[in-house]
Structures are given as C-alpha cells and as structure tokens.
Amino acid sequence: MNPQELHDRLQEIFRQVFDSETLMIRDETTAAEIEGWDSLAQINLVVGAEERFGVRFQTAEIRSLKNVGEFKRLIAGKLAAS
C-alpha cells in the first residue's frame, strides 16, 4: 500500500470515528487538536484500523500513539511485515 493510500484510508477511519465528513489529518495532528479524541475514541481508532487494514496491534502499542504520523508508521510497519 502506498503512503497516500494509507493516509486516505486512515483519514476515512478518523472521519467515521469523529463523525466529520471534512476532517483532515496531518502527520503532526495530536489528540489535543481534535475535539473528542479521548480514550474511547482512541480505542475506536485502533479497532477501526485493525478492521480496515487487517493488522493487529500489540497490547503496548494500543496506548503509545503520540500523533497521526506515529499511528501511520505503526500500521505501515505491520503491513510491510505481513
């Protein structure tokens, strides 16, 4: 999967979780910048990414996301390994 496709599909998940058709994410986007990005939303993002990308996060990875860029690197790494 190329980086743009990964970005677009992840953005789609963000839009669904935060119920916004126009939400744009950048690598630097952090939880503080998006209204409603709380622990519940965090879990929905992780579960959504597992469903849509067919990857599996490890227990420690579920809570270690600093920003969108890190989330993307994590998914890309798992896709490359599979």
């Binding site: 669904q16 979780v17 119920d19 879990i43 959504g48 469903e51 849509r52 227990t59 579920i62």
Partner: protein, 597 residues
C-alpha cells in the same frame, strides 16, 4: 452501498422515517464494530419520538463502549434508552446503598454487566445464593426488571479436559454456577446467556485479552456488538414488547414446491434432502408454537388447496390445529396480515412474517412497517437459524402490570393500523423498479417455455399442454403469434415467467394459451402481455380479440382475467374484445425489449 451509508444519506435528506427503517433492516451481527459506532450516532439522532425506557447499567468492567451500542440495538427494538451508567465496578455498593445514584435514577430495568471474574471462589451453590440475594435486593428496592449476564467460561483450561470435572473452581464450577443462576432467575429476573453467546461467536474472538489489560474491556468489540443486540432483545422481552405471532407462507417455505402446481402428493417433504430441510424448519416452528407463540398462515393459494397437504401428507410436522389463523387467498399479503392481526386481536407490531419470496417481504416491509420481516436464505436448511438469530420471541417472566400495559399498547396499535386502511399498491409496484423483456419465442428458450406450459396450473387460462417439438412447430407457423416475458426488479431476476400463444383466425385474434408463473402474481405482467397482444392484433388487422377460460380444479386465479381486461362474455362461452375500442392497460413495468412493439 451499505445500509449504513444509505441510511445516512436518507437522514441527510431529512427522510427520517425511511432512514430509520433502512438502518433497522440493515443492522446485523455482520456489521463491523466501527460501523456500529457510526450507526449508533445515527440512531441517536433518529430516536426522537420512540417510547423512552430508563435502564441502569451496573458494570464490573468498562461500559463506555457498551452504552452507545445498547442505545443502537434498543432503537432497533423500537424504543429509546435513557441510561444510568453506575460508577466503574461499584455494582454491589450501588445495589446495597439505598441512597445510591441507581435508586435515585428510578430505573425501569437494571442490567448487571458482570463476567466470570466476578464469581467468588468456593462452592457454586453458595455463590449462586449470593447472586440471587443481590437480585432480590435490587428488584425490591428499585421495583424494576433485573437483567443479568451469566458467566462466560474462559478459553484457557489449566487442567485440560479435566477442568470440566472441577467443582470448586475452573470450568466445571462456572458451568454449574450458570445452571444454578438459570434455576434461580424468573420472577422479574432475566439471565442473558453470555456463555451461549460466547460459544456462538467463537470463544477465541469473544474475549480479547489486550483490551482487558488496556482498559478492562470484558468482551472484544465485535463480541460486544453481539452482546448489545442480545441484551436489547431480552430487555424488550422484559418490558413485554416481544413478538407474539409467527406468520408463515406455505409454498417453498413450509414445504418444497407449489401445492397449486405440484399437488399435495408432489410436494417435497420427507425423503428428499430439500424436503427434510423444510421439515426441520417445521419442527422448529412447532416448538415455538408449543411454548406459546401464536402461529398463522398467510398464503397466496385457494383456501382448500392450501389445506390439502396438512390433511393428505402424514409426513407434515405442523398440523392445521397448530395455527390460530389460516388465511389463503389472492389478496396482497399486507392486507392479509392486517386481517390476521385483527382476527387474533393483537397489533401488527406483534407479528413476525416469514416468506421465501423477496417481493412479498418487500411489500410487507413497505405497507406494514410494524411487522418484523425475516430475510430467509435461499436454502431451506438455513431457515431455522435465520429466524432464531433475530430473537423475536424472547420471553421472561413479567409483572401483571407490564403485561397489561403491553396488551393495551397492542390494542391501540391494532386499531391504528386498521384505520390506516389499504396500501397504495400502484406506488409500491413503481418502487420495485420492474423491467421486462417480451418478445416471440426463441430457440434458446424452448425448454423453459415447454416447462412453463406443462407445469403451470394456477395462472393458466386454458391449461393446454405442448411438448418441445410442438413449441418449435408453433414458432415456424406464420399464423401463430407468440410472446415470452422475462421480468426483473431491484430485488432480483425472475427469468422467463410468462408465455402467450395466439392465432390469426379470419378477422379474429384467438388466444390459445396464456399463462404465468405464480411467483410474479400481482405485478401487472398480465397487463403488459395484454398490451402486446392488443398491439399485435392491431398490426395484423384483426377486428377482435377472442379468449376462453377453461376452468380446472386449480386455475381459479385467472377466472376474472378476461373480464378485468374489458372482454365481454359471448353466447358461445368465449370472451370477446373489439380491437378498435380497446385501450392499453397501465403498467408499472419498464419495457426493455430489444424490439419493443
């Protein structure tokens, strides 16, 4: 497009009723967790106006993800949840402290969202007593219905297969405890069988240890969605809102084949794999009847014909006396469902409708949205599960007042639906987006045409039979005019379903054969065929159309066909129509014939 996307689009257009219906119909255990969270938000925006129910959730683990899903599935059951979310793992304090938020909330129902970690070590009997005492306290103080989980037996078995034999711990004790909880429930306490659900779902994916460690999630998220659906169904039952009556189609639902065409003796029942599958479905239905679900028949058939298999076939599991209502006629099924509800003095919202024909299901969904409609798979081997999975007939013991309220509610609904009157069939037919291809018989269709000619008994004007060579001879005969009709709609392709044969005879155009498959009865195909017939008669310079109805034991459905199209009775027993004065019939079927006449 997914049901969720469609429902969202409808809601965005302001079509709330349609959006709600699409969302309800599309909600199944196959919808992913992420989509269910979106569906839950949409449901929240569409729940206004539904009867509110106050539910207190008492969780020993995290409930944040559960609550929106509970609201979603309650919406599917037809009510709007007002929730009290008790503090994390404080269910015992909340129940024991009469000044707790739980009691201040005055719930109509309380849900004990607990799991196997909450079962204390020791003998199962003492532990079951402890739970029963908690239920009693809660029920007496809050005066509400109590719903509780039983215990999901974990995947890991340190003792291996011997784990099942342990009585003080492990798998054996949990199973024993679950059996005891089931015995002690009743009287205002309903147990949600989480152990069964976890097995149904697949134990390995029921509990996800990562999310237990991360944030004390007792179930995986797709497990949680399944649980929420089950809990909502049990809640509906606890409030006296479960369905009361199962309405069944006959042909290709209770048996294989069409009784009007195949006769009672020709139906598939015992002895063929397909017939056995229908019988297995009958056994499941019989069991529903035994436990108090009302059974009814709604079939497009002659009444007498529809009853024959029950009288003549000893292998039928269901008997006529199992049914509280038996309606077999040629009216549309929405009208018949209304009359069944009126006969039984229950509301349309107490009915569950089962029919193998997707067109009938769509009609009922449209005109009786209160009726629950089961989407049967094509293979009868899947009928029982498709019905069972919907949990329509959940039952728990309910208080007298609950029962009275429910009865009152049903009576109101019954009156309301009767007031609403007959459905607007014309607009329904339009919405089916039917299209037809009609043209002369062609070689690739000969086998199918001969089959229709030789098998169709009901919608058959003359019941004249012809073999494949005879059909070919007709195709070569310049005096003969033939028409084969294929029908499609947005629900599927019905294939070649009607055939007409006419002959030039002097100044007349004589109808030799006119037949149609009963699967497309009531769609207006006969009107489309008539228009073609009329156009052909005109093109041939004929002055009149002549037809005959040759009655048989089975073809009553076409008795009124010719007069309904304007034909007049002639002294010789024929029906005649002057071509000059005849007008084409209005049809809702788009003509997509390659060379439309």
């Amino acid at each position: 497009m997914s049901a969720l996307t469609e429902a969202k689009a409808l809601a965005a257009e302001g079509k709330k009723v349609e959006a709600a219906r699409r969302l309800r119909d599309g909600l199944s255990s196959r919808m992913s967790y992420l989509d269910q969270t979106s569906a839950a938000k949409l449901a929240d925006s569409l729940s206004e106006g539904l009867p509110p129910v106050r539910l207190a959730v008492l969780g020993s683990s995290t409930t944040a993800q559960l609550l929106p899903l509970l609201r979603l599935h309650a919406f599917k059951e037809g009510f709007r949840l007002e929730l009290y979310d008790a503090p994390y793992d404080a269910y015992q304090q909340e129940i024991l402290d009469e000044k707790s938020g739980l009691y201040a909330f005055k719930p109509q129902a309380a849900l004990l969202y607990v799991n196997h970690r909450d079962a204390r070590p020791g003998p199962a009997e003492a532990e079951a007593e402890r739970w029963a005492a908690l239920w009693t306290r809660l029920r007496e103080r809050a005066g509400c219905a109590v719903l509780t989980n039983n215990f999901d037996v974990p995947v890991e078995r340190a003792w291996g297969n011997l784990d099942a034999a342990r009585t003080d711990a492990g798998l054996g004790r949990l199973r024993r405890l679950n059996a005891l909880l089931a015995e002690k429930a009743g009287a205002g306490v309903a147990v949600i069988d989480v152990e069964h659900l976890s097995a149904l779902h697949g134990k390995e994916s029921w509990h996800d240890p990562r999310f237990w460690h991360h944030s004390r999630q007792a179930m995986s998220f797709d497990g949680l969605a399944r649980y929420a659906a089950e809990a909502a169904a049990v809640l509906a039952a606890a409030l006296g809102r479960s369905r009361k009556c199962l309405v069944l189609d006959l042909d290709n639902t209770l048996w294989g084949g069409v009784v009007g065409d195949d006769g009672a003796e020709g139906l598939e029942l015992a002895g063929s794999p397909n017939g056995e599958a229908h019988l297995e479905f009958q056994r499941y239905v019989k069991e529903l009847g035994r436990r108090g679900v009302l059974l009814a028949v709604c079939s497009k058939n002659e009444d007498e014909r529809a009853r024959e298999p029950f009288k003549k076939r000893p292998d039928m599991v269901l008997k006529l006396e199992d049914f509280s209502a038996f309606v077999a006629n040629w009216e549309d099924k929405a009208t018949n469902l209304r009359s069944i509800a009126a006969q039984l003095n229950i509301g349309l919202d107490a009915l569950v409708f089962v029919d193998d024909n997707a067109g009938e299901r769509e009609l009922v969904r449209r005109f009786c949205p209160e009726v629950a409609v089961v989407d049967l798979p094509e293979d009868p081997a899947g009928f029982s599960r498709a019905l069972d999975a919907r949990r329509f007939f959940e039952t728990v013991s309910v208080s007298k007042e609950d029962a009275r309220r429910a009865a009152h509610f049903q009576a109101e609904a019954a009156r309301e639906s009767l007031r609403r009157g007959a459905p607007d069939l014309a607009s329904f037919l339009k919405d089916l987006e039917m299209s037809a291809e009609a043209g002369p018989f062609t070689e690739p269709d000969v086998a199918r045409i001969a089959q229709l000619i030789n098998k169709t008994n009901q919608f058959n004007l003359t019941t004249r039979r012809s073999s494949e060579p005879e059909v070919r001879a007709l195709m070569a005969d310049p005096a003969a005019w033939t028409l084969a009709v294929r029908l499609r709609d947005r629900l599927g392709d019905y294939g070649l379903i009607s055939a007409v044969i006419a002959r030039r005879s002097g100044s007349a155009f004589e109808i030799d054969t006119w037949l149609m498959s009963c699967r497309v009865l009531g769609r207006g195909v006969e009107k489309l065929a008539f228009n073609r017939l009329l156009a052909a008669a005109r093109a041939a310079g004929a002055k009149e159309l002549v037809g005959r109805y040759l009655p048989t034991a089975k073809n009553a459905p076409v008795k009124e066909l010719l007069p309904s199209l304007g034909f007049a009775a002639a002294p010789d027993g024929a029906w005649r129509l002057s071509v000059a004065g005849a007008k084409p019939q209005e049809v809702s079927i788009r003509d997509e014939s390659p060379r439309a006449a």
